[in-house]
Amino acid sequence: MMDRIAALGRTGLDVIASLGRACQFLAGVVGGVPKPSVGFPLLVKQLYAVGVLSLAIVVVSGLFIGMVLGLQGYTILSDFGSEAAIGQMIALTLVRELAPVVAALLFAGRAGSALTAEIGLMKATEQLSSMEMMGVDPLRRVIAPRFWAGFISLPVLAMIFAVVGVWGGMLVGVEWLGVYEGSYWGNMQASVDFVDDVLNGLIKSVVFGFVCAWIAVYQGYDCVPTSAGISSATTKTVVYSSLAVLGLDFVLTAVMFGNF
């Protein structure tokens, strides 16, 4: 019985220690700014691997989510005779909520897990420790470009998601279901505010990018250097990133759109 309580306490302390290591890790990653001539090509390479290669899933998901929003929205709004409000509904839903959150979830699943697996494998094959022994700081050389690539890519991906979604909604609403194109765009423009909606969505995606990139690189860096450890770390990245994104989304939405 006492053993169980002791084990619980140990687990709690482990979690807190892990959080502390994560913060120290973040300080090392953010603080170590490399020379531009060395760091920039690394960053570009990571931006390609993390951002550009995630474009496919983001664009296709955005398109289908926009189209589904158009269909479902039309069905519900036609009960009130307000089909013309479909543009407003799709745009606000996407820009405020779905674009940052879904893009972050897809990013965590695709790019986050890839980052964790890559860094975990580097740790397991002792590449990180041999880099340290050669005097190259692995945080600066390997981890920081990946972190910044994730941080920069997610807002870009979220904006592209929103645009493709709005266009997909237009495909369904205007082309297929016959909503008047003028009222689709007109109602949308009248109700979407750049500062309150678009910029808030952008801020959300910046925060999510920071969190997802941090979790992904930290889990890779901190994993148990065996194959089971890497697989567990990859799972943890996706799960923790998703939970963090959804939790932070609630907090940010309450702050931005709540009426306090």
Partner: protein
């Protein structure tokens, strides 16, 4: 992949993101590059503004001539004071016009409609509408109807 090709593709990716942001700003949101000095302010006091909100529409004969700037409560008269921004080129609103709150459709948004009076003088910057009509109150209408008035 060659370093140069990678750089070009990443550059295009960032440009696509910025273009998406620009599209969201101009096409999706209501941001428009309009001069700020193109409007003048008028005021109106209502007993009940109903569901009116800032950025609501102000129309004359169905044409949008301005937007609602702000709505405040006048603590002395307990009326709502609505400040409106009317386009500068609509500068000949007769001084005895009325500001009426109408609803577009049954469940639609509420907006302010200006019904023209006959005065030769026009409203100027900072003037207040002489007569106003408050928002239609569904409960009051139903109780009037039910009590047969």
């Amino acid at each position: 992949m060659a370093q140069r090709t990678t750089e070009i593709i990443v550059g295009l990716f960032i440009i696509a993101g910025l273009a998406a942001l620009l599209f969201l700003a101009l096409q999706v949101s209501g941001l428009s590059p309009k001069a700020a000095g193109a409007t003048y302010k008028l005021h109106a006091n209502f007993n009940d503004i109903g569901g009116l909100a800032p950025r609501g529409r102000i129309s004359m004969a169905g044409v949008t001539v301005g937007t609602i700037e702000s709505i405040t409560l006048d603590r002395e008269t307990f009326q709502a004071r609505v400040t409106m921004s009317i386009h500068k080129d609509v500068d000949n609103i007769p001084a005895d016009s009325a500001a009426v709150i109408r609803t577009s459709g049954i469940l639609g948004e509420q907006y302010i409609d200006i019904s023209i009076g006959g005065d030769l003088e026009s409203l100027k910057e900072g003037d207040t509408f002489y007569s106003t009509q408050s928002a239609m109150n569904l409960e009051r209408m139903i109780s009037n109807f039910a009590s047969g008035r």
